[in-house]
Amino acid sequence: MAHGFLKLLKSVVLGLAALASTAQAGESIVLASTTSTEQSGLFNFILPIFEKDSGIAVKVVALGTGQALDVGRRGDADVLLVHDRAAEDKFVAEGYGVDRRDVMYNDFVLVGPAADAAGVKGAKDAVDAFGRIARKGASWVSRGDRSGTHAAELRFWQSAGVEPKGQGWYKEAGAGMGPTLNMAAGMGAYTLADRGTWASFKNRQDLAILCAGDPKLYNPYGVMLVNPARHPHVKRAAGERFINWITSAEGRRAISAYRIGNEQLFYPLPVAR
């Protein structure tokens, strides 16, 4: 009996050791990022290029921008790549992040049922489209998860002079972009999506892009290192190398080269600090 117990214990130790060794095969950094970049397939395309070049494995934890910033605040990531400029600046100002740089942008798209009860199809002005949806009381699914997309959506409501919270037609999913799109598709509701996730989303059912191209729908992504002065275990050298790479000519080429079908999803930004 005691023998069996020891054998069991031994196998647990060996198993954990094996797991740990496969996990730490080489140098790696943790990149907290957004569901939009992960689920659009961008990382699957560009990270192997960086890994091959640098020998550094990038472990992507995909969360909403708000959550990703929280993870960085606790020191559980080395690098952040997110899309909420106001929150990013606050993060850096509070001393949690350093070396913030612009990386790339894409745009938000307003999607909704093809029947388009609110009549926003082809709207040139996104704020006007939001206003029409509110006036019509057409169903809207919000991310409701403090993500970058959620923050952008709230800015549009504010510009349109609408307080959507608590309205019958306004539903907060409290979920990522994908689940929110699943909900909107299921309910025949409108929602704001980033173009990357939309392009790779497969369960569209009746949903279509109704409003896009307004400069206000601009969606920029920034990258930054978690402040090593605050969290000494942050892998500074490897993290900086990643930041340098993704903002370099080579990194920008990789971002430009990623396409779904014939559509380019992300556009690199010139380095402006």
């Binding site: 647990v12 934890v61 606790r74 369960n203 059912q205």
Partner: protein, 234 residues
């Protein structure tokens, strides 16, 4: 073609072209959940057996708490383990967050109460049967626990299966502490959650079927083992 039937037929087609990435995910799931259940066996079964055999003040309160913990939501366990393993948490210096080891820890926390509660019931029943004999032979509590755990080994397979089922099918805890990192901490359940959120429902169903098949296979093996043992030991 977006109904349930279509999802299933697409799922079969995907499984036919089973690729190595799916195999990697299945392997990681089995490793993580298997280790969690082994740890659960080492911690939960003796714990449950002690509660089944022992008679001490506060025992009934402990039993109720243990039974209650069986229903602990995995997300809660995930958040608690996350806060403990976070760099800003008490165990942050270990640097375990977003690693398979972190997932093993979270799942162990999840399965220990379940396995202990089942072991408590099984061992308590056996204890009623053997109480006089073992006491007369001079067994103290540690000896009683060991003898009864050994005697109930076939019934306790149920505890292992229940633990394995819970560990393999939970998504909340591994998602939070593992981070669903591609090729590192992506398990069957987090992959299913990911594919669902990408709207790729056929692939999600396909992965779900793989998960079900693996769990069924393990249950089949355990059932056969138990049948054999019942014939062997009457």
């Amino acid at each position: 073609m977006s109904g349930l039937g279509a999802a299933f037929s697409d799922a079969f087609a995907l499984l036919a072209g089973f690729d190595h990435q799916v195999a990697e995910i299945v392997t990681l799931s089995l490793e993580v959940s298997g280790l969690a259940v082994l740890l659960g066996t080492l911690i939960g079964l003796p714990l449950g057996a002690c509660l089944g055999v022992g008679r001490f003040p506060g025992r009934q309160l402990l039993v109720v708490m243990l039974n209650g913990c069986m229903g602990l939501p995995s997300v809660v366990v995930g958040v608690v383990v996350y806060l403990a393993l976070s760099r800003s948490g008490p165990l942050g210096y270990l640097g375990l967050l977003y690693s398979p080891t972190a997932m093993v820890i979270a799942q162990t926390v999840l399965v220990v109460p379940l396995m202990a509660a089942i072991a408590r019931q099984v061992v308590e029943d056996a204890w009623r049967e053997y109480e006089e004999e073992l006491t007369a032979m001079g067994f103290r509590w540690a000896g009683r626990v060991r003898v009864l755990l050994y005697d109930c080994r076939h019934s306790l397979l149920v505890a292992l299966l229940a633990g394995l089922g819970r560990a393999m099918s939970e998504v909340g805890a591994v998602m939070i502490v593992g981070g669903n990192i591609d090729r590192s901490t992506r398990t069957m359940t987090t992959a299913i959650a990911l594919e669902t959120s990408k709207g790729d429902l056929p692939l999600a169903v396909a992965l779900g079927m793989v998960l079900l098949a693996v769990i069924l296979l393990l249950n089949g093996v355990a059932y056969a083992l138990r049948q054999w043992a019942m014939r062997r030991y009457a």
